[in-house]
Symmetry: C2
Subunit: 416 residues, 2 copies
């Protein structure tokens, strides 16, 4: 069987220019990849680049109006050193569990600029959050009752916002997280009752959180969702027991992973947010507009690196067998929520100047055909010892993968 | 939106009778579920039952001819206590990494009855395997070279079998792992050359390993694959540098997970293996026939248990929000290689006598719509504090899930 060669008309991956190439090697954090692999002590590893993270935040700030606050949703990448780096770059951190909260606090985040969302917060997590003094995005009537008890016991009123399940959907989104029946947030039509409960319970109301979906590459869909979210928040603010201080309009900014995907155009999003900020200054005086991003901030700043262990030709098809795979990078294997498997951008990091040859497949060491990092991709001729790089791997990589699967060592993570 | 009620014609889950019910509670290892949850100290947890594991091995042995050896492929569930229990029940253990090898050796397995397969064994793993004295299933020409060097350095000839990529496929298999180009094993047509290399290298040749696929519920497909594997091994044995001592015909026996799936019929498989054993006694004298099973031995003996944290009604649809989810049980969420999500069998373990009510969804605490354990399933009316049980969870559960995702605590595992 011979795999088909891509034709000139095949869709290609969006150009990736975040890391330079010198002498045929990818350079991460100023270090040639093969040297970084020695420094790491072993493969596989993830490497996240401080400079690329800072550059992404800077370019985003340049595209957004000055009044918008930028939060990092650390579920995208909870590596403690990376979170600490992000604390110095963004205005706040969003956590999704008590485990993430600990990492954020250890990283030095300001509790006033930290928020906690999640549909199944335990009683203990809510206690920890109140004690930490962070903002809790309330997602059900039950949480109001528990927070009332906790606030009384601790003598500290819980700081709360309401996570709203909107009455619309984010179009073209990788994951829809609002509209229709959902486990996230409180249905918009039930929010007035919830706000009344919050007022009666004496909690410190601070605002609203609306999050319509994630991994969206269509600016017009994000613009529409932000506009509708803002208008919904304006309507709901009339029922609030106090002034709105924070209005978290969510995120959902996507990055290009697969052939044919184009980068998100930030210009219309920036224009729309500028209009929202101006309108908020009149209609919600004192309210800060917050954008919460995870993947968009960190996804392109990271790579996954594994080493070719064996090169096998089976019935005319070449397999590069590596020491990494789906146990470290489930998304790149195509097994994390994807309906149709597509290739992430993959390269041979120490042969970046070589021309691609016949299509080959990059697989891992696991005894399952799911363990596939590149399927029939034209790559330079590689040999055992070479370093396979999976780009766009800074988000939902190590922490979103079944690392214990088949008993291989856990992956290491470097911030360089 | 109202979810559709299943009609009389809807496919249902295969009956599960491995655990009794008393006073409306599921009983595991003789212990009512709610008491076991207290013993565990926290939810979520996995519980695997010793008795069910022993009963499965016993019923399988009764269905197979006495000459067949039974191996446990521990990648299905590597919990150390469970592996130790299995060592006392089966004839050998198959490992897929050095990490698994350590667990198996610590569990007291006989190295003579332990084998190691995997397409990307590292040099170090091969050294460890030779030092341990286990059987190595060779999957490439490279491994012969390395094993020759290691054998010389250690003064111990490596015990090897050849993993063959057959020239046929296992029909109706959940995962095809043989036939066509594959990263697994060595193409059948290249095996004669490989056997010559093994002879020249002075390795201790012991047999063949053929594994055509997994999770197959059609007895006739398994019979056909075992028959073809045996015939292929007979042909290849003519090229071997020594007599065949082990012939591992793989496994692939499936268990019913989803509505409409029926249990595998063992009778034709037993008959077929009896014929193979008789034929092998003549044509491969001294060879032991080995069947290697993972999921089939342990999958039905385990449950996943999580607790309802919140009950939310969103636009007419009820969500039971639990403290467990895809981070502990990726397969049950439908995100591990499944193309179409289907429900595992799910129950409220402390309300087993209650009649099912309106369909509801069981979700986890993660901020992603992928975190779904039951989608519109008719379940008894449940409340916070109740225990959700996911059956058929003894294989590819804890170790095959991204436990660090979103920073929640790791799941605990109990052998009861």
């Amino acid at each position: 069987m011979t795999a088909p060669r891509p034709t000139a008309a095949s869709p290609t991956h969006a150009p990736l220019e975040q890391f330079p190439i010198e002498n045929g090697e990818l350079i991460i954090g100023g270090i040639p990849l093969s040297r970084l692999a020695v420094r790491a002590g072993r493969t596989p590893f993830y490497a996240y680049e401080r400079k690329a993270l800072a550059a992404r935040v800077a370019s985003l700030r340049a595209a957004l109006p000055p009044g918008v606050k930028l939060h990092y949703a650390m579920k995208a990448n909870p590596m403690p050193a990376l979170v600490a780096h992000m604390v110095g770059l963004v205005d706040g951190i969003d956590v999704a569990s008590a485990g993430e909260l600990k990492i954020a606090l250890d990283a030095g985040v300001d509790p006033l600029e930290t928020s906690f969302a999640g549909p199944g917060k335990t009683d203990e997590e809510l206690r920890q959050a109140v004690a930490a003094g962070i903002l809790i995005n309330i997602e059900s009537f039950r949480e109001v009752d528990i927070l009332a008890r906790v606030s009384q016991a601790l003598g500290v009123p819980a700081r709360v916002a309401v996570r709203v399940n909107p009455d619309f959907e984010l179009k073209s989104s990788g994951m829809k997280m609002g509209g229709g029946p959902k486990q996230f947030g409180v249905d918009a039509e039930a929010v007035p009752d919830l706000l009344a409960d919050i007022g009666r319970a004496g909690l410190a109301f601070e605002g609203f959180h609306l999050f319509a979906g994630s991994q969206n590459l269509k600016a017009e869909a994000i613009v529409e969702a932000q506009r509708k979210s803002f208008e919904l928040a304006l309507r709901l603010a009339g029922y609030a027991p106090g002034p709105v201080k924070f209005l978290n309009l969510g995120g959902g900014f996507g990055i290009p992973y697969f052939p044919g995907e184009q980068r998100l155009d930030l210009a219309p999003i920036g224009d729309n947010l500028a209009a929202i900020v101006a309108e908020a200054a009149e209609r919600l005086p004192g309210a800060e507009i917050v954008i919460e991003l995870g993947r968009y901030l960190v996804g392109e700043a990271g790579i996954y690196v594994c080493r070719v262990i064996d090169k096998k030709v089976s019935r005319g098809h070449t397999y590069l067998v590596t020491d990494g795979g789906l146990h470290h990078h489930l998304s790149a294997s195509g097994n994390f929520g994807q309906v149709i498997r597509k290739n992430y951008p993959v390269a041979i990091g120490n042969r970046m100047a070589d021309a691609p040859g016949e299509p080959c497949s990059v697989v891992g060491p696991l005894c399952t055909p799911l363990d596939l990092l590149a399927d029939r991709m034209p790559l330079p001729a590689a040999e055992p010892g070479d370093l396979v790089v999976v780009f766009q791997s800074g988000a939902y990589g190590a922490s979103a993968s079944p690392q214990a699967f088949l008993g291989h060592p856990a992956v290491s993570e470097l911030l360089v």
